[in-house]
């Protein structure tokens, strides 16, 4: 069966904005989503390991991370809306079939996320009460495992979206009279595992950079010993994450990329590929400089550099995604019917929204200097 015969017609409505605009927002949204997503993907696991086997400072870092986690998860879920929205606009012809083929797994994300998020809250409530009972700890571990599982499902979905060649076999294996039962995963795809592992390695580096940034910028009430310990621990964790990322990334790039993608990423986009691969080294150096204790300016610089690392990853991922799909579909060639007034209104609201968020954050940071009032 010709796999491309399974790709439906484009929307008769056309794209509501030029492709570059949507791809730009998709990448921007994805980068914003990746920051908190990396923290719950690897950070919860790291925090729980530190709590279980670490010393005094390790437990303090664990508590700081886990008490911030409910907010990070809320932001991460919301930041995920934009990339998924523009994926559906520009890639609907491949996104829907891929997720339908693995329907139950994709659908399970909703339930898994509810359980995982409440697990994190339960843990945070235990922390707030000053006593972590076995139930709280079990809830934390459940959340950690579920977030890793969800990452695995996401890796399946987004590799299946571009691996149209795998569709006929999965479809014929699981269909009931031509209708997919949604019980398949993209297990035959050699990209799934390295990609999932690569993202986990990246998530470890983000967790390390976050720990250092938190120590340098926000842990004003913590001791100098804690800040020094966090600098050393951040360096160790970043090193592990970077090595992990390099190993899994090499497996992914050299072992699974199709010739078209390799030609593109090692040809016209070689600079982007090199920057994506090497950029974690810069953050590592910035963390090395803080191994005796995080400082505000260096911590800020490390955080900004890590965001750049994620942005480079997001951009590379976008180029690879389009290159992998080009065998079947050129998403950049869709008809465009620009919706000017809603587009302009969105941009205006976005800028105004950022200003309001900025105002609230400034007030919150000022208020954070005061001690929390006791509950009556």
């Amino acid at each position: 069966m010709d796999p491309s015969s399974l790709i439906g017609p484009p929307s008769p409505l056309g794209y509501p904005a030029p492709y570059w605009f949507m791809a730009g927002l998709k990448v921007l949204g994805f980068v914003l989503h990746m920051i908190p997503m990396n923290l719950w993907f690897a950070g919860i696991l790291v925090a729980l390991l530190l709590r279980r086997w670490g010393g005094e400072h390790a437990r303090r870092l664990s508590d700081r991370l886990m008490s911030q986690m409910p907010i990070l998860i809320a932001l991460g879920i919301n930041f995920g809306i934009v990339p998924l929205l523009f994926t559906q606009v520009a890639y609907h012809r491949v996104f829907y079939p891929a997720t339908i083929l693995m329907g139950w797994f994709w659908f399970s994300i909703v339930g898994l996320l509810v359980v995982a998020y409440y697990g994190v809250y339960l843990y945070a409530v235990g922390l707030r009460a000053g006593r972590l009972r076995p139930l709280h700890v079990a809830a934390g571990w459940t959340a950690a495992v579920l977030f890793v599982v969800m990452g695995f499902v996401f890796s399946h979905a987004f590799t299946l979206m571009v691996n149209v060649e795998a569709w006929p076999e999965i479809w014929q294996r699981t269909a009931v009279a031509g209708a997919p039962a949604g019980t398949a995963l993209n297990t035959g795809d050699p990209q799934v595992l390295p990609r999932w592992l690569m993202v986990f390695g990246l998530a470890l580096t983000t967790t390390a950079a976050y720990a250092v940034a938190d120590a340098g910028l926000f842990a004003v009430r913590e001791t100098g010993a804690y800040r020094r310990w966090t600098g050393r621990f951040g360096l160790a964790l970043y090193t592990v994450g970077m090595v992990w990322f390099a190993a899994a990334g090499s497996w992914y790039a050299f072992g699974t990329w199709i010739p078209e993608v390799r030609a593109l990423m090692f040809g016209p986009f070689a600079v982007l590929t090199a920057l994506t691969a090497l950029s974690p080294g810069l953050v590592w150096l910035l963390i090395v400089a803080q191994r005796r204790g995080a400082t505000p300016s260096m911590a800020l610089l490390a955080a900004a550099a890590q965001i750049a690392v994620l942005a480079l990853n997001g951009a590379s991922r976008q180029v690879v995604q389009n290159a992998e799909l080009r065998r079947f579909l050129d998403v950049t060639a869709g008809r465009v019917e620009v919706q000017w007034s809603p587009l302009v209104l969105f941009v205006v609201l976005f800028v105004a929204g950022l200003a309001v968020v900025g105002w609230m954050v400034v007030h919150a940071l000022r208020a954070a200097q005061k001690p929390a009032p006791a509950r009556g």
Partner: protein, 457 residues
């Protein structure tokens, strides 16, 4: 059919949307009304320096975050997840049409999240005026997200002039927009008060404080009930004719309409006699009863709202069987199997002898062995009927609906599908495909129950 059809046994895939959507709506309205409650009541408590009430509000804000920011946010994304799986074509149309509406909603979501956390976590540390401003930012953002999503869901029920003028604003400012915004705003006031009563009745031990909470939240609840009624009247007036006819014709909807009126009146009376006139009545039992009745009315309303759209997912734009209305004539002329991306691929892979280039020769399909013809009939059933019907067991199972039907009757009904029942879609295929489907339907139809008098001739 542009996309594969997700086969969900017994329930059918679209019923998953109903399950997730109803659960979400019960929390989402509280997310809007509860925000207004917190802003307004915190302002009142600051003004009157009522420290006990402030402390209660702080506790309520925590409960509010746990319910709305976690469960509400995830089930909201969950609806989106589910519609993409169970109704991909309609989702595609909605997203292509309203992508910037959703993007704007995202801005308000972020504002909601940040303001909710700042409001709660910095309680007592922010200056009072700043704290209140943050509360009002939440309330305004939450209401704006209600307005934005209502424009899109109302479009599904009555897109107005959009099929002729396909622009964002024509679709967004559809005839159902104002009535539904009114009803949902009222619903959020009402539901928020019921959540507050439930929470306060379980948490507050001081009778004076409980009475204060009961009476303070009674007026918004009663106002909400009035807005729901006004919005409901507008909703009914601006329903497409077919939806109004469905309300009158479908027995299940008749029962639900009676139920929703009865329960709404009961809630109104309980609110008036209870918290409004006798705040002391607010016991946990009374609050639970009120809460359950409110949820029942809401759930029924949402179910009716979904059901009256039949045979469309988006009225006059996307059919229930995942075809654009514009595509129906071609499917009738050239065949359902041929015009569907996945059905054509299936026939090409399994019965290449029936293919003439990209076209399917249906006459060849009718010469296939009986078993293959039934299989192809089942394929048509999956893609054209399974949106609303399970096969033999489950939601609105066809095997039961066609109990005792003769093959001739099945075939005749297929020819006159939308004439025999106006909220069914027209038969969308060739006569040969109707033969194939009839063979399958006859094979799954249960026999007429025995012992029924007078016996059939």
């Amino acid at each position: 059919m542009h996309y594969p059809w997700w086969y969900v046994p017994f329930l059918t895939a679209p019923m998953l949307i109903a399950v997730v959507a109803v659960v979400h709506v019960l929390v989402a309205h509280y997310a809007v009304g509860g925000g207004l409650f917190l802003a307004l009541e915190t302002q009142y408590a600051y003004r009157t320096r009522h420290t006990a009430y402030l402390e209660y509000l702080r506790g309520h804000a925590w409960f509010f975050i746990l319910v709305t920011v976690v469960f509400g946010a995830i089930t909201g994304v969950g609806i989106w997840w589910t519609i993409g799986l169970a109704s991909p074509l309609a989702t595609e149309v909605l997203i292509q049409t309203f992508v910037f509406g959703w993007a704007m909603e995202y801005v308000f979501f972020v504002l909601e999240i940040v303001s909710a956390f700042v409001f709660y976590y910095f309680w007592g540390r922010l200056p009072q005026q700043t704290h209140l401003t943050v509360g009002w930012i939440y309330a305004g953002s939450a209401w704006m997200s209600l307005v934005l999503i209502t424009g899109i869901t109302a479009f599904m029920l009555n897109p107005g002039a959009w099929p002729q003028h396909r622009t964002f604003w024509v679709g967004f400012l559809n005839p159902q927009f104002v009535p539904q915004v009114l009803a949902r705003t009222g619903g959020s006031f009402l539901l928020a008060s019921l959540y507050v009563y439930l929470h306060a009745s379980l948490k507050v031990k001081d009778p004076a404080l409980r009475n204060l909470i009961a009476s303070r939240s009674a007026r918004p609840a009663l106002l909400g009930a009035v807005l729901v009624v006004l919005g409901g009247i507008g909703w009914y007036l601006f329903l497409p004719e077919s939806a109004r006819a469905a309300l009158a014709a479908a027995a299940a909807l008749n029962v639900m309409m009676v139920l929703i009126f009865a329960v709404t009146i009961a809630v109104f009376v309980m609110l008036y006699l209870g918290p409004y006139r006798n705040p002391g009545w607010l016991t946990p039992g009374f609050a639970i009863l009120l809460f359950v009745a409110g949820l029942a009315a809401f759930s029924t309303g949402e179910f009716i709202r979904e059901a009256v759209r039949k045979p469309y997912i988006i009225y006059n734009v996307v059919m229930g069987n995942q075809l654009l209305v514009d595509e129906v004539p071609a499917a009738q002329r050239r065949g359902f199997l041929e015009t569907g991306t996945w059905t054509r691929a299936l026939v090409a892979a399994r019965y290449p002898q029936a293919m003439r280039g990209r076209e399917i020769d249906e006459a060849v399909l009718l010469r296939l062995p009986e078993e293959d013809q039934r299989f192809l009939g089942q394929v048509i059933f999956q893609y054209q009927c399974n949106n609303c019907h399970a096969a033999q067991v489950g939601y609105s199972a066809v095997g039961h609906l066609t109990r005792g039907w003769s093959p001739e009757l099945v075939r005749r009904v297929l020819d006159h599908l939308d004439e025999s029942t106006f909220f069914m879609p027209p038969w969308t295929g060739t006569p040969e495909e109707a033969d194939l489907l009839a063979r399958y339907l006859t094979s799954i139809a249960f026999p007429r129950p025995g012992g029924m008098e007078p016996a059939r001739r």
